[in-house]
């Protein structure tokens, strides 16, 4: 892989401390099924701290974790964890999963259903003397706030508690790397952020790389210090969540990030009394009213608007709560499944999603004059 294409962030961190690049991997693996072939081909350097692996399902996220854990064997490549070689295709090195010191929290958690919480947590430290085993399981259960559940079975505790127990079971073994496969996907945001706080607190003193797989963009922004975007088995971007997700250089990432419309803009007026501000989209005279963020008049930023958040009107609407009503002209209409994708020119080109029924009742066709209606809070501001 060409090093120049890597984002500067990663390269800088490598320079700062080689120890922090705790995990380095080059993996190739092909899958061939009857009607599709898939090739995983990634080169990654992963420092200590939380790194998000983000991408649509089928991008190869779980396969990467399985290769790191030794549950799947790559066809070729290498895998180093600090100075330890875990896999080297050329030299024929393939350390067994038992000896890799990898903590893995599976998507379905894989808690042992017939064992109590305590027995689950102690499963990975069975070789320690009994007193030390008790002490370590007690400590880890306390730091994840589930000490009072020790005697319960996994089926007798809540979903959030199960996640905590699964984390505790993986971390009590003192792993050199932690793999999390969408472990918090099913939890609500409040519980999720508390668990992540506990995880961060634990990693303050341990400083191991944590790879967190998700396909939820909310989690990318909420958790990650670093994000690696995967598609079809390849890395298509990496960097901080804001760099990657809000200033996508490639269209696929913008779509993954859920913003079909992303524009450079700058602040032209600030209305602190109303909690809003006005932004001018670069290269046009379109003024948007947006939520107020900490910015000065004249500062540059980016505005993201989801195509589904924009309303279309065939006559100029009046008496609306929405603050942005912008005239434009339909350029093209295309049907994708049950939605219609309209491109509208209003000085800049915007993508708008609407239903088939809406298209028909508005009698939309290319060339038609329309008004775009965008709520203030549908304009997402990101650092430029």
């Amino acid at each position: 892989m060409n090093v120049e294409t890597k984002p500067d962030v990663i390269v800088e961190e490598e320079r700062a401390s080689s120890v922090r690049c705790a995990l380095s991997l080059q993996l190739r693996k092909r899958f061939q099924t009857r009607d599709c072939s898939f090739e995983l081909n990634v080169d990654l350097e992963i420092p200590a701290g939380i790194t998000i692996l983000f991408g649509p399902s089928g991008a190869g996220k779980t396969t990467i974790l399985d290769c790191i854990a030794g549950l799947t064997t790559p066809e070729s490549g290498m895998l180093n964890l600090k100075e330890r070689v875990l896999f080297n295709g050329e030299k024929g090195i393939d350390v067994s999963p038992q000896n890799r010191r990898v903590g893995y929290v599976f998507q379905d958690l894989a808690l042992f259903p017939h064992l109590s919480v305590k027995k689950n947590v102690q499963y990975g430290i069975a070789s320690l003397p009994a007193s030390e085993r008790e002490e370590r399981s007690r400590q880890i259960l306390e730091s994840f706030h589930v000490a009072e559940l020790q005697q319960r079975k996994p089926s007798e505790i809540s979903g959030g508690e199960r996640q905590r127990v699964a984390l505790a079971r993986a971390l009590v073994t003192d792993p050199a790397v932690l793999l999390l496969d969408e472990p918090l996907a099913a939890l609500d945001a409040a519980i999720k952020s508390k668990i992540v706080d506990d995880l961060r607190a634990w990693n303050e003193s341990h400083q191991i790389p944590i790879l967190y797989v998700t396909h939820s963009r909310e989690e990318v922004f909420a958790l990650g210090e670093r994000v690696i975007v995967l598609q079809n088995g390849k890395v298509i971007a990496q960097g901080t969540p804001h760099e990657v997700m809000t200033a996508p250089r490639q269209e696929t990432i913008a779509v993954l990030a859920g913003f079909e419309n992303i524009f450079d803009a700058h602040v032209t007026a600030i209305h602190e009394d109303r909690g809003t501000m006005t932004c001018l989209i670069a290269g046009s005279n379109v003024q948007l009213e947006t939520p107020l963020v900490r910015a000065d008049v004249g500062s540059a930023l980016r505005v993201g608007i989801r195509a589904g958040d924009i309303l279309l009107a065939s006559i100029e609407p009046a008496g609306l709560s929405a603050r942005n009503v912008i005239p434009g002209r339909v350029i093209s209409l295309a049907q994708r499944d049950v939605i219609v994708v309209a491109k509208v020119n209003c000085g800049v080109e915007l993508e708008v999603h609407l239903t088939l029924a809406a298209r028909d009742s508005l009698q939309l066709q290319p060339g038609r004059e329309v008004w775009l209606v965008i709520k203030t809070h549908s304009c997402h501001l990101m650092a430029s």
Binding site: A69, G70, L71, S96, P97, Q98, N99, R100, V102, G103, Y104, F106, D108, A110, F112, P113, H114, Y123, G124, A126, S127, R169, A170, T173
Partner: protein, 224 residues
């Protein structure tokens, strides 16, 4: 009621079920987890006794145990008598005959254990043996109970193989089912009925126990 043949049958069934529990576990483990390309042949061999007429099976076992086969000769040089028409021969024949009734439930319950649990066990550093003893065995307990009970009950009632391999020697190879056959041949319907009824009751009791133990709601025990 012929108590001698009854106890002989119980002794035979207990012995066969015990051997099959020990022998069936590694075979079932291998059948479940091996990725050997020709595994299906081994699976077919294990399953053969289910479809083969007992007399066919019994005939070949008799030949294999007889003085003209290498196994029979080896046994004879070792013990001074042949395996055919002895209790030991009967045990060997019954083990082969009942093998699928132990191995198949074992293998089915091993296969039902979630692969991710085994992967979790491996990443937590547990060896394959420890994973087998601490995860696979306890999680497939219903299958183990079924397999052992079925091989026990199946051995209790077998006829064709016993007749071919063991013959009809009172106290040595005359089992309950052969006793029933003898009594019917001699028009002793009352005697046949007493023995047959006993066999029916025992088989029914064992199967009821198996299904009761395997009831999902009782998987742990009827209290919390």
């Amino acid at each position: 009621m012929d108590w001698q043949s009854f106890w002989l049958t119980i002794r035979l069934a207990v012995l066969v079920a015990t051997v099959l529990a020990l022998l069936g576990l590694p075979i079932a483990y291998w059948i479940t987890y091996s990725r050997w390309r020709w595994k299906f042949i081994a699976e077919a061999v294990v399953a053969l006794p289910i479809v083969l007429p007992p007399k066919v099976l019994g005939f070949y076992i008799l030949i294999a145990l007889g003085p003209r086969s290498p196994l029979g000769r080896w046994w004879q040089s070792f013990t001074g008598h042949t395996l055919a028409f002895t209790f030991e021969g009967l045990v060997i024949g019954s083990i082969i005959y009942s093998l699928p009734f132990a191995v198949q439930p074992f293998a089915a319950s091993f296969a039902a254990v979630d692969q991710r649990l085994l992967a979790a066990s491996a990443t937590l550093g547990a060896s394959k043996l420890r994973t087998f003893l601490e995860l696979i065995l306890p999680l497939s307990l219903p299958g183990l109970v079924t397999g052992i009970a079925l091989s026990f009950a199946h051995t209790m009632g077998e006829f064709g193989v016993v007749l071919m391999v063991g013959g009809n020697i009172p106290g040595v190879t005359r089992t309950v089912s052969i006793d029933i056959y003898d009594k019917v041949q001699a028009f002793d319907y009352a005697g046949a009925n007493a023995t047959a009824l006993m066999l029916l009751v025992i088989s029914f009791t064992i199967l009821s126990l198996v299904y009761a133990l395997n009831r999902k709601v009782w998987a742990v025990w009827p209290f919390k």
